[in-house]
Amino acid sequence: MKPRSKRLLLVAGAVALLVGAVALVLNAFQQNLVFFHTPTEVAEGKAPVGRAFRIGGMVETGSIRRAADGVTVQFAITDTAKVIPVSYKGSLPDLFSEGKGAVVQGTLGPDGQFQASEVLAKHDENYMPPEAQHAVDQAKKAAQTVAQ
């Protein structure tokens, strides 16, 4: 075997071993690598108890209620299967709205109410002009009407 082929095998083998090791490590830490838990995971008791964590999902349509003090907001976060009620005091990001993605950080109370200390908006990877968005909304509405 030429020394050149030997070195190629050596480098390729070392990289392959490394990739395998990293894959195993990432697999083992799978739970710690997620930025947020889904409402379903929380309902199943998979979320950490007694310390702050994050829940991610959609802000349920029609769920946003502003309290009389003007700073407290109540809303519900859902993954369409489970719903978690959230209470938050503070300012919300501009993109925060009903039917859109959001990630809330805080603690789950014994009453099942999530006390959020931070609310982040999560937007999707779709970019389109307002007219196109309007057309998409219209098409969705039409499809719903047909379905009904």
Binding site: L18, F35, F36, F96, A121, K122, M128, A132
Partner: protein, 258 residues
Amino acid sequence: MMKEMKRPERGKSLFRFAAPQLFYPLAGALAPWFAGAAAVLTIIGLWLAFFVAPTDAQQGEVYRVIFIHVPAAWMSMFVYLIMAFWSAVGLVMNTRLSFMMARALAPTGAMFCVVALVTGALWGKPTWGAYWVWDARLTSQLLLLFLYFGFMALTEAIEDPRRADKAGAIIALVGAVNVPIIYFSVKWWNTLHQGASVSLTKAPSMAATMLAGMLVMALASWAYTIAVTLWRVRPLILERERHAEWVAAELDALEGRI
């Protein structure tokens, strides 16, 4: 050693440019063309980005940071892979120029990495509501920046160029594992960062003029990277090959011009 002392053969094969002596003038001749292409493409790309591409329905005008952010992020990952490629070629084939290419690429990759992180923070504040979060995408991208810094620091710190090259090559190869992690992080784990809008496996989820602007900016980044890397590798070649006769002649000619 015998092999290295031999004069580079002026055959037809493109591999003859692996000889520093032949690559030096080639790099000098090609770089201005790529720099010119980068300038023209950047002007077209920015024009598309700010005057042609429509406002986004969801985010308004702030989404326009995508035209810098995404090409920079792509480039930061891609440059690292090319660095790893040259490092592997250098280790296997024992070619000096490969290591010089890897070292010439590193600062540009690090620069794109910084641009991606900074523009991302500026984009995150108005949309997410935070400059920075420790999700898998952002954290692995930050790790990429540290890998670039590690590569540059290590190769600069070791005096003996051959040992410096080998040590750098190991960082480049080990760190390359991080690149697919960055790319697929948004698929593998829950992240605040959104998924890919453009990929090889599905139709792009953005308006055609937006996509055009982004791709032209990506091409501009490619041309820029090639130009500055060629310019950066030239003094590296002169420094490393300073004992060769042709370098002495080249330096004399340079002095004559000054």
